[in-house]
Each structure stands twice: as C-alpha cells, then as structure tokens.
C-alpha cells in the first residue's frame, strides 16, 4: 500500500461526495417516485392477497362461529347478512377494498367490535414491548458488533460472537420461561424480582402505573434483546470487517487521527448500510410483535390477537391484522430505500 495512493482515494471520496449530490436533484425524485409507486403497488397486492388468501381456508365462517349451538336458519341468514357474507364474492371484495381504504376493516366475528378498535387497543402494547426491545438490541448489536470487528480475532470478539450466536439460536419462548423461573419465581437464594406475566397489575394510576408497566416490561424486553441483538451484531461486524482493509482508513490513521475517531467517523458510517437495512426491516417487524414472547409473558399485544383471530378463523380480524403487518414492513422497507441515497448517494444513481 503506497502512501500516495491513499490520499488519491480519500480525495476521490471527497470529490465523489458532492458529485452525486448535484446529480441527485435529477435522480433522486425519480428514484423516490419509483420507490413510492412500488410501495403503493405492494400495498394493493397485500390488500388483494389478504382478502383472497384467507378465503382459501375451507369452511364457512358463520358455521364455524356458531358450531355447536342451536342456531336457526333465520339467525344464520341474519349473521351472513350482518357480516356481508351473503353477497357475491366480487361485491364482498369491492366492499372490503372500499372500506379498507378508509381504514374500516369490518367487525370482528368473535369480539363483536370493530377490527380497528381491537388493533388500536393492542398496537400500543406491542409497540411498547417490541419498540423498547428494538432500541436496545439495535444499540447493543451495533455497539458490540463494532467492537468485535475492530478487535476481531481477539478473545473479546470470540466471546461476543459466540454468545450472540448462542442466544440467537435459543428459542425465545424457552428463554422466556427460563427467565420466569429464575427471575420471577426465584431459585435458591435468588429471589423472584419480576412479575410472571401481563403488562400491569391493574388498578395503578399515574407514576405508579408507569413504574408498574416498566416492572412488567423488563423480562420480555430482556428476552427479546437477548435473542435479537446477535443478528445486528453479526451484520455490523461483518460489514465493518469488509471496510477495515480499506485504504482510506489507513490514510485517516496516517493523518494522525485517533483510532476511535477513525472508527466512528470513517469506518462505521461507511459500513452501516447493511445494518440500516436490517434496522428498517426490524422496525417493520416491531408492529407484528413477537407472538411467542407475547404468549409466554401474556403480553396483550397484536401477536396474541393474531393467533386468536386465526384459530376461529375471525376473517375480518385476520385480514385487518395481516394488512397492518404487511403495510408496516412495506412502509419501513420503502423508508429504508429512501434513506439509502442519503447514506450512499450511489444507490440513487
């Protein structure tokens, strides 16, 4: 590696940076329009899929709902009419699309309340749990991943990656149950410190309520973080490792920059692209919740609701949830697409 080659590269980098920005004015809007249009088409596809996919499940929802009860033919007909199931399929579909576009996903068969109400009831709970976990495991993953890559091959790196891989491969419900036994019930001299499940004790208000929810939040969040941070760690680590041989880093060092500055200001930003993809995908997933963790810790979120909806099957609720889950992922992926050019202008070219 020659000393004079490196400045050229660095210079290149400095020169190329403004270049695309100038070009961005023409490329970016087109890029943006393309991505937004793609997202819109995907959303439409999801809408269509969510309607027809769940109608492929054999059986008659009204019969399923009323199975085992004495229901007169008139009452069955009334149900069919109430839920619009007496209409031809194409009418049901157009009704569904029309209403879905205004945010109306119909009435849940089993809970007899609007699907939107059930979703908005459970969504904040899921976001609180998975959102908190998301922030923590992303931060932890990036922090540990960077550290591992920077000192790759050493004991710290080996321990870090080994631990991350181990935790990543542990089933979350098993880890959750283990944490309940150890930290909730308590083992030997270790006292039980946290609630075994739920989101609140019930009846608390004000600050006590906040503390109570925080108390209930700890174990599920710890479970999620433990299982999820490994992925971010590994992606960050491998991306950074790819960057580490780059000449511009040697140049940066040669300029006399401190090692942590080289890492933070030069290496990490350039290595972050794959991690950003992962972050956005994970962000999309936070809406869907994590069914197993929500089940083990009896968290009243969307994951549990989806399971209940599927087991009936409660078509309007299943459709509504499916749409919300898919829309969140599409939205986040689109956002990621829109952010990439800002991080690496070559993407929009």
């Amino acid at each position: 590696m020659t000393a004079d080659a490196t400045p050229a590269l660095v210079e290149d980098k400095q020169q190329t940076a403004p270049g695309p920005r100038v070009r961005k004015s023409s490329a970016y809007p087109r890029y943006l329009a393309g991505k937004v249009a793609g997202a819109a088409v995907s959303l439409l596809a999801v809408l269509v899929t969510s309607f027809f996919l769940f109608r492929l499940i054999p059986g008659d929802p009204v019969k399923t709902m009323t199975g085992g009860r004495q229901v007169s033919a008139e009452q069955l007909a009334a149900y069919r009419e109430e839920f619009g199931l007496d209409l031809p399929l194409w009418r049901q579909f157009t009704d569904y699309c029309g209403k879905a576009l205004t945010g109306d996903f119909g009435t849940s068969y089993q809970f007899r309340s609007p699907v939107v109400d059930k979703i908005t009831e459970a969504l904040p709970n899921t976001l609180l749990l998975t959102g908190t976990a998301f922030v923590l495991y992303t931060a932890l993953g990036i922090l540990l991943g960077t550290r591992s890559a920077w000192r790759h091959g050493r004991l710290g790196d080996r321990v870090n990656t080994g631990l991350a891989l181990t935790l990543y491969s542990i089933p979350s419900f098993w880890l959750g149950l283990l944490l309940i036994i150890v930290l909730s019930v308590g083992i030997g001299p270790l006292p039980g410190m946290f609630p075994t499940g739920g989101m609140e004790s019930g009846g608390e208000e004000g600050f006590a309520y906040v503390l109570d929810v925080a108390h209930h939040l700890v174990l599920p969040v710890v479970t999620l973080v433990a299982v999820e941070y490994g992925q971010t760690l590994l992606v960050t680590r491998s991306a950074l490792l790819d960057e580490m041989g780059s000449d511009y880093l040697t140049t940066a060092r040669a300029k006399g920059l401190r090692d942590d500055l080289v890492r933070r200001r030069h290496a990490v930003p350039n290595a972050l692209l794959p991690t950003v993809t992962l972050i956005f995908i994970n962000l999309g997933r936070t809406v869907a919740g994590v069914i197993l963790v929500e089940t083990v810790f009896s968290w009243p979120g969307l994951g549990g609701l989806f399971y209940q909806a599927l087991s009936v099957p409660d078509l309007p609720l299943v459709q509504g949830l499916f749409f919300v889950f898919a829309a969140a992922v599409i939205l986040m992926n689109t956002l990621a697409d829109l952010v990439y050019p800002l991080l690496d202008p070559r993407v929009a070219r």
Binding site: G67, A73, A78, R112, G202, G203, H215, D260, S298
Partner: protein, 617 residues
C-alpha cells in the same frame, strides 16, 4: 495513546449502558422483592383490601350476557347477574336464585316464578319480575339479543310480569328444564337504552350495574377483569373485597405465578397437566385439587352425515355404519391404559354418557353388556361383519381397499395426540389403519361430515338436556348448507322418542330413569364411545385462600362451577397484616436505590470525563 482511547471509549459507553440498565432493573425490581414478598400481592393490595386473583387463559369474547358464549365470560356473568335459579353446590339440584319458588300449571304449559323482593341492583333500584320479563322478551324478539342464549327461549310462547314479584312464562309445549334456565337477568332500566344488541359489549362504563355477588368494576382486554364484592348481595357479601381474573396465555407461566403467589388460583385450560400437578404437589402453601370432572372424553363415529331434509353429505367410511364394527373398535381400546399412561391417573374410566359426578343421571352398563377391552373379540366381530384380513394382514372394506380411518383430533390437545398414537397401535393390530388429522380448527371438517372418527368431549351441566339434545334428529342441520346443533349427526328414532319423553316428564325420578335409558341406547348404538372422565385438576394457595366451596361439596371442582359458589364462598387466609404496606415500601426502596445508583453513575462519568479531558484535547 490511540490504543488507550480505543480501550477506554467503547467499554466506557458499554459500561454506561450496562449500568443504566442495571439501575433500571434495580428500580423496577424494587417494586417486588425482597422487601415486597410477592404472595401478598394477591392477598392484599396497598389499601389492605383482600384480593383473590385467578389465572385464566381464555379471552373474554364479550361482557354482554346476550353475546358471550365462552366459559370465562359466562362464569363472570354468573357473578355479575342473578339467574332465576341456581344449583345446590352439594348435589346440583335447583335452588332459589332471583326466583324464590316456581311451579307449573296442570297442563304443564305455564310456569309461574315468584321473584324475591330483597334483591337490588348495584345502583340502588329494586330487581323485579319486570326485569326478567324484559330480558326474555328481548331475546325472543331481537336476533342480536338471542345470540348467546336464544335456545333457552325457543319454546317460549309469551313472558309477562303481572306484578313486581310474579313472572309468568307460557310455553309452546312442555319443557322439564324450566328450573335450569341459565340466563342472566339484566336491569331493564339500564339495558333498554342499548340500541344495537349485536354490537354492545358492556365493557366501557364501570361499575356495570348488576345484582350478583360481585360487581364488574374494570376490564382491560387480555389483561384483567376486575370485580368488587357486592356488599348488598341478598345471600350475603363475599369475603374477599375484590376478585381479579388475570391473563396467563402460557399455562406454565400461570403455574409459575401461582408458585410465586401472584395469583391465588390456577385451573389450566381445562386442566393442569399431570406434570404440572405433580410438580405443584410438593410445593409450600399450595394445594392441588384433583376433582372428578364434569367432562367426558369420547370417540365419536361419523354415522353418515345427513340433513333433516334427508340429503346425505360428508364422506364417513361406510364400514362404520355397521354396529359390530363400531363395537369392535371400542373393544380394541384399552381404557385403563389411557387413564394410566395418558391421564396419569387424573381421570376415571369412561362408561355411560354422563359422568358419575351427576349421580342422578349417571348410568353404566351391566357387566354382561359392557364393551370391555377384548382385542380377540374385536377381531371376531370384524370377521363376522365381513371385514376380513387380506394377505398383508390389512382388513379390507367392501370396495376391496384396506381400511384406514381418518381421526379428527385437536392440534392443541396433547391428550388427543397421545390417545391417537395408541389407537394406531391397537387398531393396527386388528389390521386397521389410522390417520390422525390434527387441526387447530376441527369445526369445518366436522360440520361438513368429512371425517370417520373424531375426539369429542363436552362439559355436562347439572341438567343434562343440552348434551342429550345434540344427538336428536331435530338437531341435524335443515339442509347440508345450514348448521345444526348436532354433535356428530346421530339420528335414532328410539333415542328421539326417549328424548321427547324426558323433556315433558316433570317428575325428577321418572325423568332420570328415562335419561338413563337414553344413555343405554347411546351406548348400544356405539356412535359415541366414552373413553374417560378427565378430572378437573387445579391448584390454589392455602396462604391466600383459607377455605373455598367445591362443587359437589364433597370432592368437587372449583373453577367453572354451575353457580357462583367458589368465589362467593372463598375465605381469605390470615395475612398477618404485616405485609400490607410492603408494596409501597418496596417501591420507595426501589426508587431510592435507583436514584442512588444513577447519581453514582453520573458522578463516576463526570470524574472520568474530567480525567480524560486533557488527553482528548
């Protein structure tokens, strides 16, 4: 220097994260222990109230008594609203509820109930016959209001309230179940304001006006249902101040909550597993209640699905239409092995259709008629029916193909899967194949008659009318496109005649005798083979519940009783009073500890920054 910085900065950040995390954990952990021993949580809240907490797994479908069909929701309605009658916890016979007495006219078509004058709604108004009449009339005229309990009023001609203490129900034809109308009576002055009964869920405004032993005071979907004791309940106030149903979607987590004392009672859904029961048996302050259950666990055979209009549908195996084949299959089921190996002793061997805990109606076959486990006899019966083994040792049907039965099983029930494996082995030896079709939702193939055999089970009420009715021809769907109330399409003329007779027989002893004849007929037909009566296995904390009524009183269950006896009668254990303030103490100590740690962290970080500032510059 660079190396030093590198070493310092990351661990420094990490340490901060770790310490902040630890502080957060300490802060919240301070809420519980060790200063806040968990068991008191269920025993007494901050203000010293006695709270009984019950772990439940099922979601509330609705809190409107006109819509709710799930066990949890209807159990809560039993606590919120008084029904006309109740069941004696000792022997299940009908006793006064909102009605103090009831009698029928000589022609058996008019029933007159005397409504008690000492039952008041929780808003202070008197509960009257007018409320009861309005409730029944609403169910008779509004399809939305008929959703859950419409079948109870199907035979009603007219319901009136000539006076506040007199309710008159006129019937279309005689009905022996008039002292077993499990319908919550709601306050007219509150409910007449409801515009759409098919959508009103009764879960927004608290407290909800009722006249049962508890008043619904709070509800959060899939979190908790909170009820407070009705101090003015006519039978006397419950001993606990509050009753809370808390959600545990995972049964192992619920058992952990019981161990910790977060809940006072856990029943499982519908029972604790043998492993859970064994693990709890040695635990301190926990009592396992292994009670005779009210359920039966059976193998139902598809008798050739058909509708009332005679149209056949479904695809049940034709060989099962032969009674000898059905009896042979049952003779090749080792029920003792199922009790020992699958239920691990937490069940009783099945015989008649109604479990032995309902003594009045319990029937079992005499020794000479019993279809005892006898594989050799089973093989003989199959040979006799013409289903002989071929060269490969497989029995072949009339179409010449080897017989393989499709058995519908519930994917969520481990018992179904375990028994299914045994069936594969036992029937395999007879030369019959078994294909287990385990599904989350068995309803669809079941209603379509697309199965050969199915794992079946029902909870039986003190009045057996319902579980008997589901095998009458009248319960068949009107057409293949409709739904019937039938369990598995059984339609037998003789059984139907007996059913009609018992329904019009108002003499309890005579009626019980007819019911037993029906069970006998059902046993002979062989479409319903009862393998076991699973026990109700549940557990509670003796340091929180001093005593509680089981039903039947002698060796009965606690959860899902007919009536409100368990929670109404539960007596709190002495809490010693010392831990009442522990919760708030725990919070204070936790907060102080957290603040101290955070303060220390801040000081530590500041010092570190100062020490390295020069170097950084």
């Amino acid at each position: 220097m660079g190396t030093n910085d590198q070493k310092r900065s990351l661990p420094h950040g990490l340490r901060l994260v770790a310490l902040a995390g630890a502080a957060a954990l300490t802060l919240t952990a301070g809420l519980a222990t060790p200063l806040d021993p968990a068991p008191q949580q269920a025993r007494a809240a901050d203000d010293g109230k006695k709270v009984l907490t019950v772990a439940v797994a099922q979601s509330v479908d609705s809190l409107s008594p006109f819509l709710a069909v799930r066990l949890l929701s209807t159990s809560i309605h039993r606590l919120m609203y008084e029904y006309l009658t109740n069941y004696d916890p000792k022997d299940n016979h009908a006793i006064p509820g909102l009605a103090t007495k009831w009698e029928s006219s000589p022609d058996k078509l008019t029933w007159t109930y005397t409504i008690r004058d000492n039952s008041t709604w929780s808003d202070g108004e008197q509960a009257t016959a007018e409320d009861a009449a309005w409730t029944f009339n609403k169910m008779m005229t509004d399809t939305g209001a008929a959703t859950a309990n419409g079948s109870y009023v199907g035979n009603f001609r007219k319901v009136t309230a000539p006076s506040p203490t007199e309710l008159v129900i006129e019937l279309k034809k005689p009905q022996a179940t008039m002292a077993a109308l499990d319908v919550p009576i709601v306050p007219k002055h509150v409910w007449e304001k409801v515009s759409d009964f098919s959508e009103f869920n009764n879960d927004k405004d608290f407290p909800v006006v009722g006249n049962g032993p508890f008043v619904l005071s709070g509800y959060k979907a899939d979190s908790y249902v909170r009820l407070k004791a009705n101090k003015d309940f006519w039978r006397g106030s419950p001993k606990f101040d509050e009753l809370v149903f808390r959600y545990y979607k995972d049964q192992d987590a619920a058992v952990s909550a019981l161990r910790k004392g977060e809940v006072s009672f856990v029943a499982g859904s519908p029972s604790l597993t043998p492993a859970q029961a064994e693990s709890l048996k040695g635990a301190d302050d926990i009592q396992v209640n292994d009670a005779p259950g009210r359920r039966f666990y059976a193998l139902a055979t598809n008798p050739g699905a058909k509708a009332k209009n005679g149209e056949k549908f479904g695809d049940g195996h034709p060989s099962l239409l032969d009674q000898r084949v059905r009896n042979a299959l049952f003779r090749a089921v080792d029920r003792e092995a199922i009790i020992d190996k699958v239920f691990r002793g937490h069940a009783v061997e099945g015989e008649g259709y109604i479990p032995p805990r309902f003594q009045d109606y319990f029937w079992k076959p005499s020794a000479d008629r019993k279809l005892a486990y006898d594989p050799a006899e089973a093989a003989r019966l199959l040979d006799q029916a013409g289903y002989k083994k071929n060269g490969d040792g497989k029995r072949v049907g009339k179409d010449g193909k080897p017989i393989t039965y499709r058995v519908l099983c519930h994917a969520t029930d481990p018992n179904d899967k375990a028994v299914g494996k045994y069936l594969q082995e036992w029937w395999g030896k007879l030369g019959i194949g078994v294909r287990l079709n385990c599904l989350d939702n068995v309803t669809d193939p079941w209603l379509a008659g697309k199965y050969d055999l199915a794992f079946d089970g029902w909870s039986v009420n003190p009045d057996p009318d319902f579980v008997l009715s589901i095998h009458t021809c009248g319960a068949l769907p009107a057409t293949p496109e409709e739904t019937g109330a039938t369990d598995n399409f059984i339609c037998d003329k003789k059984y139907d005649e007996l059913y009609a007779r018992q329904l019009t027989e108002y003499d309890p002893a005579k009626r019980a005798d007819i019911v037993k004849q029906m069970e006998s007929r059902l046993y002979d037909l062989g479409y319903m083979n009862v393998m076991a009566y699973p026990n109700a296995v549940e557990a509670f904390r003796t340091d929180q519940i001093k005593s509680i009524t089981t039903m039947p009183a002698k060796a009965g269950n606690i959860y899902g009783q007919d009536g409100y006896w368990s929670w109404w009668s539960a007596v709190p254990a002495d809490s010693g009073g010392s831990s009442d303030n522990a919760s708030s103490t725990g919070v204070v100590v936790g907060i102080v500890a957290g603040v101290v740690i955070l303060g220390g962290l801040g000081a530590f970080a500041a010092m570190r920054r100062r020490a390295t500032a020069e170097e950084r510059e």
